[in-house]
Amino acid sequence: MRQVAGKAAAIGAAPPPQPSPGGRRSEGRRQAKARRWLVSALCYLVLSLAGVTMLAPLLWMISTSLKAPGRVLTFPPRWLPTEPVTVQVEGRPREVVEVTHHGHRVRAAIMGVRPEGLVLRELGRDNSKKTPLSLTLSQGERGNASSGRTAGANPAEWVQPDDTRVRRLERWAPHWENYAQAWGALKVESGFFGLLHNADGLLVFYLNSLFVAIMVTLGQVVTCSLAAYAFARLHFPGRDKLFLAYLATLMVPSVVTMIPVFALLRRMSLTDTYWALILPGIFSAYGTFLLRQFFLTLPTELEDAAKIDGAGRLTIYWRIILPLSKPALATLVTFVFLHTWNDFMWPVIVIDDLGKKTLPIGLAHFQTPFLTEWHLLMAASVIVMMPVLVVFVAGQRYFVRGLVLSGLKG
């Protein structure tokens, strides 16, 4: 390391560092420190800005999912699930506003909206009603009038030319019951092996997704690890050619196999069954490749010792190879589970029965009856997304390693 650096310095144009007096050196060190500090501050700034931009859509999703039905389609949009503060005046709930007039601030209730403006009544400190009608404001434009923006139907504040400001008071009011409503919004007559009758839609989709994802993941771990063991450790004629064929099919896009596989499953009357979702998923060239690469890196000494003790291949596979391959298996599990859980196109093609739909196509089905009920659509989306996010954050390490393993060593 030092050698390379020294050589580069000798070749480079920069003069070799001069021994400098102590004062100048500490000055230089301070400067370098300041620069490093500036660079990291800049890094954090850019990353934070980018991070907020990335998170904003997800937060917007959660915020929308918590809004009251009537508060979703407001213009301007509210960032948070809020509701107007109301107070009972003359037997009816009235929205409360805060009026600022030349620096003087009072609370008032909206008694009515007339063409000529708002009719307000001032409120006491404890929201008790006070003096009768005290203020009438024209419903002016929001911001400065020259920009030509209209306030919309549901403005957050009004500004008067004479420096009077009327601001709606809103309070944080998340509607958690949206989630319960989304959960049961679709009813499924019979689902999940016919075990559930007239059940909540998302419950059925959840169970279906879990079942399919677990079966596919298990199946793939079993078939791929067996095959990978054969490719990595056993000898048989045609092994390398066969492995090459596996590798070649990694490049075949799924669209190519989609139509014949559908035709085949239809021929076997397996479309619209769980088999159609599970069978094509449990054999994968990719998984075989990933595990074979990992098995090749394992030392053979243990196996040799086991062989001398008379262990068969199945024992070696089960007692030595698999336990040593936990990281690679964890990677495969995370990948396959995630992929199956999120898979959309294939279930769309082979599943029709509402009772067998997985979460993604169940969510897609949601769209029709609840086309503009964004709070329900977003609540359902959050429900669909949450477990994946949790699994991801928990299995992140394996996930990242798997990416690197499968990506570049190929």
Binding site: M54, L55, P57, P253, V256, I361, L403, L408
Partner: protein, 317 residues
């Protein structure tokens, strides 16, 4: 006397070897069976189906090259040359247009990886945040962005409104803006995702001595990026571009299905969505297979081209 003993020994050994081979095949069998039934045979079958007319319930009927003529060829009509299937060309154009996001995604992923590669506290948290969109259910993501892009009450148009854009686009309802909207959504999921992690891994593989040497030579950060980082990351970039092109040719299904139904006026129908509708909504399986074959050849051709070009550009350490 010695010779027969040897043959017996040899026979036993041969039998043992045969047993060993049989065992190996048993290990391989479950996977191989699936591989044959669900990958290898279908690949061959699609090549045959592409030459048939088949409406799922009837038997496939051999039609020779007719599907490909309908798909790729042109005819003259009153002096104008028109494509037999103009939709195919439009959707091919859409598919390629949507791939314009790829350079942006690559640049964004690299930029992000460079930032995340700084030895600073909390980088794992940032990496997790940037990766989140990539693991989100694509269906949920499509719904979310449909809501963000809503022309009247959508939050994006409100934001544009706030910064003074008087007539913000209608996004998914506009033939001009629907595709850019798809690209933007793709960038959101793509920039911090898999590509960024690959770049991070690539960056960590670059020896620190190179930067130290460059520092002593008085190289600035741009020069280091240009002459050390970028060339040494070229295998990663190459991999990302190849995978991006392969994925791009097959992309656009979920977004089209969930957000636009391929519209307006076919502006967001990609080849993948076209194949889906042809096969599973209009039940023209043979024609759909022909489109799939053409798509496969396109992917294959581009991968070869990438490979050829890549050999000249990529530096392996």
């Amino acid at each position: 006397m010695a010779a027969p003993a040897q043959t017996v020994e040899g026979k036993r050994r041969a039998r043992a070897r045969r047993w060993e081979h049989l065992g190996a095949y048993l290990f391989l069998l479950p996977n191989l069976l699936g591989f044959l039934v669900f990958t290898l045979v279908p690949v061959a079958a699609v090549g045959l189906l592409a030459f048939t007319r088949w409406g799922v319930i009837d038997r496939p009927q051999w039609v020779g090259l007719r599907n490909f003529v309908r798909l790729l060829s042109f005819h003259s009509e009153a002096g104008h040359t028109t494509a037999n299937d103009p939709f195919f060309w439009q959707y091919l154009g859409n598919t390629v247009f949507l791939m314009l996001g790829l350079p942006l995604a690559v640049a964004g992923a690299l930029g992000l990886a460079l930032l995340l590669n700084q030895r600073l506290r909390g980088m794992v948290a940032y990496r997790t945040i940037f990766f989140l969109p990539a693991v989100c259910s694509p269906v949920a993501v499509a719904l979310l962005w449909k809501w963000i892009y809503a022309p009247d009450f959508g939050v994006l148009n409100y934001a544009l409104h706030m910064v003074g854009v008087a007539n913000p686009p209608q996004w998914l309802q506009s033939t001009t803006w629907a595709k850019p909207a798809f690209i933007l959504m793709g960038l959101w999921t793509g920039i911090g995702g898999y590509n960024c992690v690959l770049y991070l891994a690539g960056l960590q593989g670059i020896p620190a001595e190179l930067y130290e040497a460059a520092d002593l030579d008085g190289a600035g950060w741009w020069q280091k990026l240009r002459h050390i980082t970028w060339p040494l990351l070229s295998p990663t970039t190459f991999f990302i571009v190849v995978m991006g092109v392969i994925g791009g040719f097959q992309g656009g299904f979920t977004a089209a299905y969930m957000m636009t139904d391929g519209g307006p006026a076919g502006a967001t129908t990609t080849l993948m969505y076209y194949i889906y509708r042809m096969a599973f909504q209009w039940f023209e399986m043979g024609y759909a297979a022909a489109i799939a074959v053409v798509l496969f050849l396109l992917v294959f051709g581009f991968t070869l081209l990438n490979w050829y070009l890549g050999k000249r550009v990529v530096h392996y350490q």
